[in-house]
C-alpha cells in the first residue's frame, strides 16, 4: 500500500485531464489559443505525473504492484477502487500520457474540418482519462468502466471530424466494441460468482482472483468464460474475424484520432489478455492458445494481403496494424514469458511506429488534400524531410533490426518456436514459419507504398504547387517519437528490464514449466576449452 503523495500519484495521473476538461468547458469557444494552451498544460502535467511514477518506480522487483491504492467503491458488489502499476502496465501508462501530449502539439494548427477546437480538445482529454485509467485499474469493474469510457470520445471524434463516410465508420466502431465489452462483462460476472477469494468472499479484485487460482470452475465452464473475454478483447485488438471495423475507423478518423486509436486503444485488448484473461484462467488459456495463435497468424497474412490491395495510404497503414497486432498476439499465444515480453514490447513499438505513420499520412493529406496513392508521388523531391521520415518509419515498421519494430516481432517469432509445455510443437512451428513469411509481405507492402508515394517524380497535378515541408509543430510532435523508435531499437533492454520481472512472475504462476526430474542443480560446464578473454595479464 502506498502512502503519502505516492498514494495520490496514480489517481492524479488519471484524473487531471478531468480538471483540464472542466477548465476547457468554462472557456468560451472563441478564445481558441487559450483553450489550446490549457489543454497542452493539462496534458503536460499528466505527463509529468506519469514520469514521476516512472522515476520512483522500483525497477528491482517490477512484479510487485506499486503505488497501490485500495478504497471501497461499491461495496454492494464488493468492487473497490483498487489501482496499482507494475512492470507490464508502467510502459503503457507512460506511452499513453506521452502520445496525448504529442497529439495536442501536432493538432496546434492542424485542426480537422469542422474546426471546433473546444470540443475536439475536450474529447482528447476525456479520452486520456479512459486510456490512463485502464492501465492502472486492478479491479475488473474499474477496468470495465475505463475500457468503455474510451468509447464515447472516440465515437464523437470519428463522427464529427471524420472523413466522408464517417457516420458508418463511427457507429460500426462503437457497436463492435460495445458488443465485445458486453460479453466481456458477462465473463467478469461469471468469474465473480464462480471464484471465491481468500476470505471466502466473491470479488472483482484481479490480484485476489489470480491468487485464488481456478477456484473450482470445471474446465468446460472455464472455456466458455475465457471465450467471452476472448471475444471482448479480440474485437479490440483487432484479431482476424472481428477486425473489419479498424480500416473503416482509421480511414475516416481525423489524424490525431487515428494516432490515438492506433497507439493506445488497440493495446487495451492485448493488455486485457495479459492482465486478466491469461493469469486468471490459465488452463482455459492453454487450451485456447493454439486457436489464438491460428487467428493471430491468419491476421498477419490477411492484414498484409489487405494492405497490398489498398489504394488509400491511410487504409493501408490501418491494415498494417492488423498484421502487426497479429505478431503481438502470436507472442501472447506462446504463453512463454519470452513471448509475452515480446508482446508488451511489440505493443509499445507498434504504438510509436504506426502513430508516426498516421501522423505522416495526416500531413500528406494536409498538404496534398488526398491520400490516393495513385495521385501522390515524388514526395522525396517536393518534401524531402517528410519523404525521408516516411522511409524511416516504413523501415521501422517492417522490422529492420536496430529499430523498435524488430524487437516486437523477432522475439515473438522466437518464442513460438518453443511454446509453453503442453502446446503442440509442430503447430506452433508452422505458425513461426508463416509469421516469418509475414515479414516478407510486410516489407512488400511497405516498400510498395514507399515507392508509390516517395520515389518517382511528382504527378503533374502537383508539379508546380509549392509544398511546404515539415513545419515546427510537426517537428516538435514527431522528433520525440523518432528518437524513441531508435532508442528502443538500439537499447531494447530498457523495456525488457521493466516488463521481465512482472511477466516472469505471471507466467511462472500461470504456466509452470515442468522441471526435468533429478536435474543437477549446478549447470555442468559444457566440455569446451575455456574461452578466455585475452589480455588478462599482458
Amino acid at each position: 500500500m502506498a502512502h503519502g503523495f505516492d498514494a495520490w500519484i496514480l489517481t492524479l495521473t488519471t484524473f487531471t485531464p478531468i480538471v483540464g476538461l472542466a477548465l476547457v468547458l468554462l472557456i468560451p469557444k472563441v478564445e481558441e489559443e487559450l483553450i489550446k494552451l490549457v489543454t497542452l498544460l493539462t496534458t503536460l502535467v499528466t505527463l509529468g505525473f506519469s514520469l514521476y511514477v516512472l522515476k520512483n518506480f522500483d525497477f528491482d522487483h517490477t512484479a510487485k504492484l506499486q503505488f497501490e491504492v485500495k478504497k471501497t467503491w461499491i461495496e454492494v458488489i464488493n468492487s473497490n477502487y483498487h489501482i496499482g502499476v507494475d512492470g507490464i502496465s508502467l510502459p503503457m501508462l507512460v506511452l499513453s500520457a506521452f502520445i496525448t501530449v504529442l497529439c495536442v502539439i501536432y493538432s496546434w494548427n492542424h485542426f480537422p474540418e469542422p474546426h471546433n477546437v473546444k470540443a475536439f480538445l475536450a474529447l482528447i482529454l476525456l479520452l486520456e482519462v479512459g486510456m490512463n485509467g485502464t492501465f492502472i485499474a486492478q479491479d475488473l469493474i474499474l477496468f470495465f468502466i475505463f475500457f468503455e469510457i474510451v468509447l464515447l470520445p472516440m465515437y464523437f471524434m470519428i463522427g464529427v471530424w471524420g472523413g466522408p463516410n464517417r457516420e458508418y465508420a463511427s457507429i460500426k466502431f462503437f457497436l463492435f466494441t460495445l458488443f465485445g465489452s458486453a460479453l466481456m462483462l458477462l465473463s467478469f460476472l461469471a468469474i465473480f460468482f464462480k471464484v471465491k477469494n481468500g476470505q471466502g468472499l466473491h470479488t472483482f479484485d484481479i490480484p485476489e482472483l489470480i491468487a485464488a487460482g481456478k477456484g473450482g470452475i470445471t474446465h468446460g465452464v472455464q472455456l466458455i468464460i475465457f471465450g467471452g473475454m476472448f471475444i471482448g478483447f479480440a474485437i479490440k485488438v483487432p484479431m482476424f474475424p472481428f477486425h473489419t471495423w479498424l480500416p473503416d475507423a482509421h480511414t475516416e478518423a481525423p489524424t490525431v484520432g487515428s494516432v490515438l486509436l492506433a497507439a493506445i486503444l488497440l493495446k487495451l485488448g492485448t493488455y486485457g489478455f495479459i492482465r486478466i484473461a491469461l493469469p486468471i484462467l490459465p488452463e482455459a488459456a492453454k487450451s485456447w492458445a493454439p486457436w489464438i495463435g491460428l487467428l493471430a497468424v491468419i491476421g498477419i497474412i490477411y492484414g498484409a494481403l489487405g494492405c497490398l490491395a489498398q489504394t488509400d495510404m491511410k487504409r493501408l497503414i490501418a491494415f498494417s496494424s492488423v498484421s502487426h497486432m497479429g505478431y503481438v498476439m502470436l507472442g501472447i499465444a506462446s504463453l512463454t514469458s519470452f513471448g509475452i515480453n515480446a508482446a508488451v514490447f511489440g505493443m509499445v513499438a507498434h504504438g510509436l511506429i504506426t502513430g508516426m505513420l498516421f501522423f505522416i499520412a495526416g500531413s500528406v493529406q494536409h498538404t496534398f488534400h488526398t491520400r490516393e496513392m495513385s495521385r501522390l508521388g515524388g514526395l522525396l523531391t517536393q518534401a524531402p524531410k517528410m519523404g525521408w521520415i516516411l522511409g524511416f518509419c516504413a523501415m521501422a515498421s517492417l522490422g529492420l533490426p536496430g529499430l523498435a519494430g524488430f524487437w516486437g516481432e523477432f522475439p515473438a517469432i522466437l518464442s513460438v518456436f518453443k511454446p509453453a509445455d503442453g502446446l503442440s510443437l509442430p503447430v506452433f512451428r508452422t505458425y513461426m514459419v508463416i509469421a516469418a513469411i509475414g515479414t516478407v509481405l510486410a516489407a512488400g507492402y511497405l516498400l510498395w507504398m514507399l515507392q508509390k508515394v516517395a520515389f518517382g517524380t511528382p504527378k503533374d497535378e502537383w508539379k508546380d504547387t509549392h509544398v511546404h515541408d515539415v513545419g515546427p509543430q510537426e517537428w516538435m510532435a514527431w522528433l520525440p517519437l523518432l528518437l524513441l523508435i531508435v532508442v528502443l531499437g538500439v537499447v531494447p533492454g530498457l523495456m525488457f528490464k521493466t516488463t521481465d520481472g512482472a511477466v516472469k512472475q505471471m507466467v511462472d504462476k500461470a504456466f509452470p514449466t515442468k522441471v526435468e526430474k533429478g536435474v543437477a542443480e549446478k549447470q555442468p560446464e559444457a566440455k569446451s576449452p575455456a574461452i578466455y578473454v585475452k589480455h588478462l595479464g599482458r
Partner: protein
Amino acid sequence: MIAALANPHVDFLALSPEIALTATIVLVLVADLILPERSTWQTSRIASLGTLVSLAFVAVLENHSAIHGLFGGAYAVDRYALALKGFFLVATYVTILISVDYIGEGDYYEGEFYFLLLCSVLGMTVMASARDLISLFVALETISIPTYVLAGFRKHDRRSNEAAIKYYLIGAISSAVMLYGMSMIFGLTGETKLSAIALKVSALPDSKVLAVAIFLSLLGFAFKVSAVPFHWWAPDTYEGAPTPVTAFLSVASKAGGFVAMLNIIFFGFGGKAGMWWLVIWVLAGLSMTLGNLTALKQTNIVRMLAYSSVAQGGFMLVPFAAYGIAQSHHQTDVARSAFQSVIVYLLVYGAMNLGAFACIIAVARRTKSGEITSFSGLFQHSPVITVLMSIFLASLAGIPPFAGWFAKFTMFRAAINAGGWAGVTIAIVAGVNSVIAAFYYLNVVRNMWFRPAADDAQPVQIPGALRAALVVCTGLVVAVGVYPSIFGDIADVATKTFG
C-alpha cells in the same frame, strides 16, 4: 376479524406523507377556483411545495427505525416502502418542474393538471405500502384513472383523444382481468393479505387453477409495465399524450406497476416461483427484443422513447425472472439480490428517462416537432442541451461513466447469479439487445452531432424550471454513474428489512 375492523388503531405518523399529499391536492383544487385566470400558474408552485413537504415526512419516517404497520400488516411503511415513496415523490417533483412551462405556454387547465397528477402520485405512495390485494387494486386504479384523463388532456387534438381512449380501454380490460385473477386467488386462499396468502399458497399443491389465478392477477401489472403482449397502448399513448404526461407515464406509473408486481410476487407468490418464473422469463425476452427492434426504425423521438421504455421494461423484468429462478431453487439470498437490482434499475431508469424527456421538451419548445431529423445539427448552435441529451441517451444505452451502466450491470449480475441455462441465455439476449438499443440511441446522437444544422435554426433557450429539472437529472445520472453506491445502498437497505 370483524373486531379488527371496528376501530383500527391509526398510526398517523406512518400515514403522514399521504396526508400531506391529500392536503396539497385539496389546496390545489381550492386555489384553482379562487385564483384569477392570470395567476393559475401558482397552483404549480403549491403542488411542488406539497410534494416537498410529503418528501420531508418520508425523510422523517426514514430515520425512525421502527417499522410502522397499519391495518394488521395490510399497509406496511417499512424501509422498502419509504425508499419507493421517496422515489415517486422526487419523480413527481421533477415532472412538475418539466410541465410548469409546457402547461403554462399551452392552453391547458393548469389547476386540473396538477390535481390529477398529485392524485396519481397519491395512488403510487399507497401502492408502495400496500400489502393487501384490495389496497393493491385500489392503489393501481388511483394511479391509472387520473392518467387516463391526463393522457387526453389536449382536448382539441385528435391524437391526444386517441391516446386517451386506447390507454383507457386497454387499462380497463387489464384491471378487469386482474380482478378476475384476484377473485380466484381470494377463492383459493380465502385471504387478501399478501403475507397470509403467501402461507396459504405455499401450502396449496401445484394446481392448474392456482397457476392461472396467479398469472391472471400478475397480468394487470404487466399491462401497467407495458410488457410485450400488453404493450400496444404504450407507443400510441406516449406519442399522443402531452410530453410531460408521457414522461410521467413512462417513469412514475411504470414504476408503480413494477412496485405492485414486486409486492404481489415478493410478499405473495414467492413460494410458488416454480410456476410463474418461466412466464416472466418469456415476457422479459419478448419485451426486450420487440421493443428494441421496433425502436430501430422509428422517426419520431417520443415514439422511439416509447419503444425504448418497453425495452427497458423488458430489461427490468430480467431480474424478476432471475428472482423467480432463484426462488424455485430456494436460494433466498440470490433472490434478494435480484430484488435489489430491480429497485436499482428502477431508480436509475427514472432519472435517465425524466432527463431525456426534459431535453426533448426543451428542444421541442423551439423546433415544434418530435421528428428525430429536427434534432440535426443541434450541436452547432446549442451545445449544452446537446451534451445533456447525449449524456442521457448514452446512459440509456448503458455506457459508463453514466448511471445506465450500473443499472445494466446489476441486471446482468442478477441474471448470471441466478445461473443455469435460463439465467445465462437471458443474459446473452440482454447483451445483444443492449447493442441493438445502442444503435437507435446513437442514431439520435448522430443526428445532433454529425448532421449539418438547418440554416434557420436558432439556439435553444431553457426556462428556469426546466433548467432545474435538467440539473437534478444530470446530477443524479453522472453521480450514480461515477459512485453507484448512492442507489446501491438505498436498494441494499430497502431489501434488508425483510428476511
